[in-house]
């Protein structure tokens, strides 16, 4: 759970070096269905390139958790609002983040638009 919380903290602090350290070298990132660049992104460098791009697009891009961090064995679920302004209209994405952590690093990260769907997928209840 600490790793998932650290992702939110480092992103909000714009500390991309610290964020990078939270990912396994072979980390995988899957964006939610319908995302413009769906990926998946394979490998830490690809994941970080995607985040750098998102930071430029959504800058300042702040993540505000709106659920508890739910610990489900090696996975952590958190729903958050992703706020950004960037170069276009203000964006407020309600999105759920699922982290899979091995040896204190993220090996797999997956997004869902629907919080209930994410919980159901992981066999959890709201």
């Amino acid at each position: 759970m600490e790793v998932a919380k650290a992702v939110i903290e480092t992103w909000n602090a714009r500390d991309m070096d610290a964020l990078r350290e939270l990912y396994d070298p072979d980390a995988i990132l899957r964006m939610p269905e319908g995302w413009p660049e769906p990926g998946p992104y394979v490998g830490r460098e690809a994941v970080m390139r995607q985040w750098e791009q998102q930071r430029q697009t959504l800058d300042p891009g702040v993540l505000e958790p709106i659920s508890d961090f739910i610990d489900a064995a090696d996975r952590v679920v958190v729903r958050h609002i992703w706020r950004g302004a960037g170069h276009g209209p203000e964006v407020n994405l309600d999105i759920t983040n699922v982290f899979m952590v091995r040896k204190r690093r993220i090996v797999y990260q997956e997004f869902f638009w629907d919080y209930a769907e994410a919980l159901e997928t992981l066999g959890l209840e709201e």
Partner: protein
């Protein structure tokens, strides 16, 4: 859903050991990723085509005598322990290879396959042992 994934795993495993590569491929997401054990030569294999080719190469090299010893239903994931009685198809040299794998499914297809040489590591990974 979870029993479906167990059934799918069994179906895929049967196809793997019987050389039915179309069935194997059909059970993989187009963007499936394999994360192998750190001791394995390749560390990750990406895409349905590459993973199918990798599995096919392994079976054609080591033979099809592979048995599932344990199968654990984990909801959207399946944990399996298998024992592969390998026999080099050219050399004829035999051996025994035990591996565990955690397969994550979405919409009836595998999206992530993780391999562990040590079963305890796999159990730990999914929180089944401390």
């Amino acid at each position: 859903m979870s029993q479906e994934n167990v059934d799918l795993y069994r179906k895929q495993f049967h196809a793997l050991t019987h050389g039915d590569w179309d069935v194997v491929a059909a059970g993989l997401d187009p963007d499936v990723i394999v994360r192998t054990d750190p001791g394995w030569p390749e560390q990750r294999i990406y895409s349905r085509q590459a993973v199918t080719a990798w599995l096919r190469g392994a079976v054609e090299s080591l033979g099809p005598d592979n048995q599932v010893e344990k199968l654990v239903d984990l909801g959207d994931r399946v944990l399996a322990r298998w024992c592969w009685n390998t026999r080099g198809q050219r050399s004829g040299i035999g051996g025994e290879l035990r591996y565990s794998e955690i397969v994550t499914y979405r919409d009836g297809r595998a999206i992530l396959i993780e391999h562990f040489r040590d079963h305890e590591e796999a159990l730990k990974a999914v929180g089944l042992v401390e």
